[in-house]
């Protein structure tokens, strides 16, 4: 059996996991499903792309690729810039839209997030057109890893970057006071206030974290495949499936859920047919909701 699907699935799954962290923390702390999360991912990808080209132009028109990779330093700096941008965008959407509606029924906020998603996607399409864009058109030669698995240097680099980000987020959530406060607000906001946690600060931190990770996932998906206005929207179902599969509020759960979905999608493409790829997240989501509604690592349903 060819094990290539494992490598492909692991990589796309880690990206999904990265994006799903934002979904899961927003859901558990703000208590609503943010359908505009996909657009944070898309806008991150476009900003990273635009910033990297602007930096290349500023650097005299050339930024040679780093070692065996298809991208140079401008893409890395552009990626960091995109993380800052999407974090700021998430804060801005909250300030303008969600904060005003949060005290009401959560369905109102969910609907508002649908609206925000539509508006942002249209704005992105208006500014960048609907044609896909690429960080690089260079072809990369994949290298054998054994067991019939081949990976490109870009894929290996992005697995490394994603792993570093995931470990960083995990440490933030488990070892820092900010992470403990986020877990506290997620579990019991009133008690969190009683112990001195400023819930509004934690809400802002949640947007910053979710926005930045979405941008990172978007930029990396852009490096691996392409950037288009619907990329985030198309990832929404896998993101939500990963968050629910892992258990709402659980960061390790989002990562494991993301990887499970990524591998299931890749296996479906390899063994069943690519037309079934999109259905896999949905099937896994339904199966998990039927068998274990609180997810793999969730504390409560």
């Amino acid at each position: 059996m060819n094990l290539q699907f494992l490598a492909d699935g692991l990589l796309s799954g880690m990206m999904i996991g990265l994006g799903a962290i934002g979904v899961t923390v927003t859901y558990s702390i703000l208590r609503f499903a943010n359908f505009a999360h996909g657009e944070l991912l898309t806008s991150g990808a476009y900003v990273a792309w635009a910033a990297s080209f602007a930096l290349t132009a500023l650097a005299g028109g050339a930024a040679p690729p780093l070692g065996p990779f298809s991208f140079g330093w401008t893409v890395l700096v552009g990626g960091v810039f995109a993380m800052l941008f999407s974090a700021a965008l998430a804060l801005a959407i909250d300030a303008v839209l969600f904060r005003r509606l949060r005290k009401g029924a959560s369905i109102v906020v969910v609907m508002a997030s649908f609206g925000a998603s539509l508006a942002l996607r249209s704005l992105i399409e208006f500014v960048f057109s609907s044609s896909p864009v690429y960080f690089s058109q260079e072809l990369q030669i994949s290298r054998p890893l054994g067991f019939g698995v081949r990976v490109t240097p870009d894929q290996l680099a992005l697995i490394g970057v994603t792993a570093v980000l995931l470990v960083g987020v995990h440490l933030l959530m488990t070892r820092s006071q900010a992470g403990r406060s986020m877990r506290a607000v997620s579990e019991n906001p009133t008690l969190a206030r009683v112990v001195g946690v400023n819930v509004e600060d934690i809400v802002r931190l949640t947007w910053i974290l979710g926005g930045a990770l979405a941008a990172a996932a978007g930029a990396m998906t852009g490096i691996l495949v392409q950037i288009r206005p619907y990329m985030g929207f198309d990832l929404l179902l896998p993101l939500f499936s990963a968050a629910i599969l892992g258990g709402i509020g659980s960061v390790p759960g989002a990562i494991v859920g993301g990887i499970a979905i990524g591998i299931a999608e890749a296996a479906t493409v390899d063994f069943i047919g690519s037309q079934w790829r999109a259905a896999v997240s949905f099937l896994l989501l339904i199966a998990m909701l039927l068998v274990r509604p609180r997810g793999l690592f969730g504390g409560r349903a």
Binding site: E187, T190, L191, R193, V194, V195, G196, G299
Partner: protein, 247 residues
Amino acid sequence: MSEALLEASGLVAGYDVGVPIVNGASLRVEPGEIVAILGPNGAGKSTLIKAIAGLVPIAAGSIRLRGRDISRLPAHEMVRRGLGFVPQTDNVFAQMSVEDNLRLAAGILEARLRRARIDETLAFFPDLSQRRGLQAERLSGGQRQMLAVARALVVSPSVLILDEPSAGLSPKLVEIVFAKLAQIRRTGVTIILVEQNARAALAIADRGVILAEGRERHEGPAAALLGDPAIAQLYLGGRRAVLEARP
């Protein structure tokens, strides 16, 4: 008259605008004493202490801590001013370990003081000390209540406010919890206690305040309240006992 540690005057508070549950209540607490707030169901006991803790909006009146007005401060500021609150239910973070519950609470202290305060607090609660790595949801009811109290104590509050600490506990555990509260008072912490279990509360309290319809009706030394047959009959379960005694 010396300055009270905590003084609430003319408090009007409730969850919905125009529907006050606490309706003009006043409360004066001296340093180092235990004050029990008692009264029938719906008297506004819990709402009164939640309003003091910043968890229920205040429509009128004022709360002063050591003479300073703290009436409109958000709940997360109250604990920084020295006012510790232990809710009746859901009073620990069940998904976190005992240690993380304490670490979270100790977060408002200077970083260099946190470890020592957590260790001191755990030393005061040996039962918790042996379970510091255990998730709080796996603790027994009594241990959870102790963790909730420990969590409030870790930041060395000047006033500890507890909402029905005996609720849901067996008589044996109630005894243990109240003995612990008496022990905490001996360390210099002032305690305000809302209780249904009036006799147990008055047994450790210096004073009792009896609330009815959102304001104080009777107030006096705990021993005097316990010994007053009219009070006992109306508010301390006496009337119920009489009714139950009839054939």
